[in-house]
């Protein structure tokens, strides 16, 4: 695949060119942390970020999705008929997405885009977005991507990747869509030998900085019922306050709720992020709640990510090791420690 190079001094020019071609989302510093947002000028983007506080999943699976709208007006012949809210699928690019976050969309595809069920909005947005990643030269101490099957230079979820080699960027196309974009940008300079060498060295050093923290295969092999009934959940769950921080920040948590919101004679059906940490998530119409206890909810989150997903889809775990839940959990519940408990060969 195509590989080119450009000097850092040219970065803003490249981004401006991108903005002329496509709608561009990039990491933007807002207040104390970064988030992916649409940028109108190159200077809005900050590629010096570590990662965004919230994952970019909201670009495909918005926190608040207006699905349908309806009228309740008396005498309106269209009353109570759901009409799809028009969607904007303008061709877009996410610039600077981290390899782990891009990989997360593939993890989630099994839920939104299967041979049987297709979520039209997810599918169309996936089609409209080109993912230009930024390889991680210096993964954070809370990152564990290599343990869960991705990595700081993993290009699996990407269309193209940028590698910061100090004075410039090496740009590698990964898919045809990525190659097409690189060509459209008019980037033609060959990668200098030194830059290619540096990119390779950085890849090796970034990967080496990340140890293997637990064994996902071992969790796959464990008996579900045995894990489900393991004694360690009691200790794991104690500190949990059952907020939704971990699930809302997580790039792979896809669960949602659907609500009708009515104002006067107009209404809309919206889809909202939901969380298995909330008791209401599993409350039945009958009043029965199969996960009324905190322990059950905490266990569900880890079992879904690390065990059920593996058992059901046979393509690794539903975690990409971004570490957001590790750094932002208000009570320091650390998925890496929980996974170690789950993968241990015996429960002692």
């Amino acid at each position: 695949m195509l590989e080119v190079y450009f000097q850092k001094a040219k970065l803003n020019e490249v981004i401006e060119q991108l903005i002329r071609l496509l709608r561009v989302y990039a990491p933007v510093l807002k207040g104390a942390y970064h988030e992916f947002a649409q940028i109108k000028t190159a200077s809005d983007a900050d590629l010096g970020f570590q990662n965004t506080r919230l994952s970019p999943k909201g670009l495909f699976h918005p926190h608040l999705e207006r699905m349908f709208e309806f009228s309740l007006a008396k005498g309106d012949p269209q009353a109570s008929i759901l009409r799809e809210v028009p969607k904007d699928y303008s061709p877009s690019v996410i610039l600077g997405i981290r390899p782990c976050d891009a990989r997360a969309f593939q993890v989630d595809d099994v839920n939104f885009d299967t041979s049987v069920v297709k979520d039209p909005w997810w599918v169309e947005r996936r089609k409209s977005m080109t993912l230009v990643g930024l390889a991680c030269n210096e993964p954070c101490s809370t990152c564990f991507c290599t343990t869960v099957g991705t990595g700081p230079f993993d290009t699996n979820g990407l269309d193209a990747v940028l590698v910061d080699v100090g004075d410039g960027y090496v740009v590698r196309a990964v898919t045809e869509r990525g190659e097409e974009l690189v060509l459209k940008l008019g980037l033609k300079d060959l990668v200098p030998d030194e830059a290619a060498k540096k990119a390779e060295e950085q890849k090796v050093s970034a990967e080496q900085s990340l140890g293997r923290l637990f064994d996902t295969e071992a969790i796959a092999k464990r008996d579900s019922a045995e894990l489900f009934n393991a004694g360690f959940w009691e200790e794991v769950q104690f500190a949990c306050i059952n907020c939704g921080t971990c699930t809302f920040l997580c790039p792979t948590c896809w669960c949602f709720d659907i609500q009708d919101e009515v104002s006067g004679e107009q209404g809309e059906r919206v889809r909202l992020w939901d969380s298995c940490m909330f008791p209401l998530f599993t409350l039945h119409g009958s009043g029965h709640n199969p996960r009324s206890q905190k322990l059950q909810r905490v266990r569900q989150r880890f079992m879904h990510k690390l065990k059920y997903y593996q058992d059901k889809y046979h393509q690794g775990v539903a975690c990409v090791g971004c570490g957001r839940c590790v750094t932002q959990c208000p009570v320091n519940i650390d998925i890496r420690s929980v996974a170690q408990l789950m993968s241990a060969s015996c429960i002692c």
């Binding site: 506080r53 104690f238 306050i241 907020c243 699930t247 008791p279 932002q328």
Partner: protein, 316 residues
């Protein structure tokens, strides 16, 4: 303050061995810098995992409501005041509690430290002699403890536990001449439009994760008003109306109950200054009723009692 670790372990070992308590609630050392995890020790084998440093900001009183066993709990000044409210509100029996009082010089604010590090990542943090030494890849830097305290701790006037069964260290001098409500007066001085905008901007980044609510030891309702579904009182969206309804109602439920322990603000994953909602109410309760929350087990909170002399100037 660091010496508390040994004191906590010693007390926990003794209380469990003497069968004075069934469990001990404290903290264990965090897996990352600037964080510790609330921890329940049930046996003497677990006692050595108990730990203490300046990142014990999570309010342990949060783990008490509805417990029926005999609990020893590590409590800073603010935690102890929350325990007082929980006892007054019949959430826990004082007889079942053994309070290990932790005189406190303030908890450290991970956000303030991270901000000062300007994007550099810390991999370790040590605390000694009023200084915080933070190190990471290729750097080491130090801060004065007093420069990186949680904001509520800088204006705290009850650092010593108000009730306890034993102390983990000497009482610390309380801060004098603190102006607790400078920020509230600024908001009070705003025009209604400015004030509306101020609160609207405060909540703009809210993701409705409820970390603020769930970190709060005073939020113990079996079903929170935002979780009621038959009927549903509050919309679940992140539209400004729904978000502010949640924040405003949550704050009002804390009128005369909040101790400004800062657990809510500390927990928020998107850095909302949640205390701005509750501090005005705290000031009102002091001004209207002369009542400071959680200082006495003898006095009923003003909002759950009626007195003929209660102020009513706010009834128009």
């Amino acid at each position: 303050m660091l010496a508390y670790t040994e004191k906590i372990r010693e007390a926990a070992r003794r209380l469990l061995a003497e069968n004075r308590v069934d469990v001990v609630i404290g903290y264990r050392k965090g897996t990352i810098p600037f964080a510790n995890e609330p921890f329940l020790a049930k046996s003497s084998e677990q006692v050595d995992r108990l730990y203490w440093d300046g990142f014990c900001g999570a309010n342990l009183a949060n783990y008490l409501p509805k417990r029926t066993d005999r609990v020893a709990i590590v409590a800073k000044g603010c935690d102890s005041r929350n325990i007082v409210v929980q006892v007054l509100e019949n959430q826990i029996s004082r007889d079942n509690l053994y309070i290990l009082g932790a005189p406190c010089k303030g908890m450290l604010d991970r956000r303030a430290i991270r901000k000062a590090l300007k994007g550099k990542e810390a991999t370790s943090c040590e605390e000694e002699d009023g200084k915080i030494v933070v190190s990471g890849r290729g750097f080491s830097t130090s801060f004065e403890r007093t420069d990186v305290l949680q904001e509520n701790c800088t204006i705290c006037i009850h650092r010593n536990p108000v009730i306890y069964d034993e102390l983990l260290g000497d009482l610390v001098p309380e801060q004098q001449g603190v102006d607790r409500y400078e920020d509230v007066r600024k908001v009070e001085a705003m025009s209604p439009e400015e004030r509306w905008r101020y609160f609207e901007e405060l909540t703009a980044s809210c993701i409705r994760c409820y970390a603020c609510r769930n970190a709060c030891p005073m939020c113990f309702c079996p079903t929170c008003f935002v979780d009621e579904s038959t009927p549903q009182w509050v919309g679940k969206t992140i539209n400004p109306t729904d978000t502010r309804t949640f924040h405003f109602l949550r704050a009002y439920h804390l009128g005369g109950r909040c101790t400004d322990c800062g657990a809510c603000e500390r927990a928020c994953p998107v850095g909302i200054k949640v205390r701005q909602f509750t501090k005005k109410l705290e000031k009102d309760i002091i001004e209207l009723y002369g009542y400071e929350v959680g200082l006495s087990l003898e006095q009923r909170p003003p909002l759950d009692t009626y007195k003929p002399g209660d102020p009513e100037s706010f009834i128009k």
